[in-house]
Amino acid sequence: MTVGEKSGNSGRAEVLNGPFTTRQLLRLDDALRGADESTGLTFSVYVGDLDQPVRGHAEKLHSQLNDPDHSVLVAVSPNLRVLEIVTGHEARRRVPDRQAKLAALSMAAAFSGGDLTGGLVAGLAQLAGQAGKH
């Protein structure tokens, strides 16, 4: 689901103008739901422009989630070719920064090949696997 959809806005129509096909959206949905259900954390994926400083913007997005302490945000800026993984206070205990960095490395490798969906799905699986069962 998109943020706009959750908020009762026209997110469903807008997401079709995004970078993903319907099949890719289904893969992402599966990955997000699986990560959430297995870990108890809230995983979120943002793909779009990020303002400078990128880390600050990603942290601001993360703070807008309902429960930032138990949330993990993956923010990707295809134009800047950067990605940020932001873990909340509690989520950080489950996903140490070193493991987040490893997930970021694998995602960046996929992104450099033009595979946004594959990188996100693999990265989410890696982060969820590291967080373990709740």
Binding site: F43, D49, L50, K60, L61
Partner: protein, 112 residues
């Protein structure tokens, strides 16, 4: 006839392949090329998962990242600076990986 039918078959197959590939590649991300797709932000479709505040709604409406409660304010820049300092303190661990210091949020950054 012996030339027309094979030529027609080739033309049909070529048309089908070209039409499907161009449609599927229109959204494909190509590193180094401008990325003009709408900004999207996903959360899992599970109860309790929601976004606090009202500014985030505008992401789904296709507006740019500048709509995110003012984008990066001074506080964001401060946070970024602290993150960089922490990362510098944490330093390299010898394996080429950098880690950020302990604070309110953790995570990692990378580029490609």
């Amino acid at each position: 006839m012996f030339a027309g039918i094979p030529a027609a078959v080739i033309a049909i197959i070529y048309g089908l392949v070209y039409a499907t590939s161009s449609a599927s590649n229109s959204k494909r991300y190509r590193p180094g090329r401008p990325f003009n797709q709408s900004t999207v932000w996903f959360i899992a479709n599970t109860p309790g998962a929601a976004i606090a505040g009202h500014a985030a709604r505008e992401i789904g409406a296709g507006s740019g990242s500048h709509a995110l409660s003012g984008g990066t304010a001074d506080s964001g820049a401060t946070t970024h600076g602290a993150h960089q300092d922490d990362a510098a303190e944490a330093g390299h661990d010898g394996s080429g990986l950098t880690t950020v210091g302990y604070g309110e949020t953790g995570g990692a950054s990378d580029s490609w």
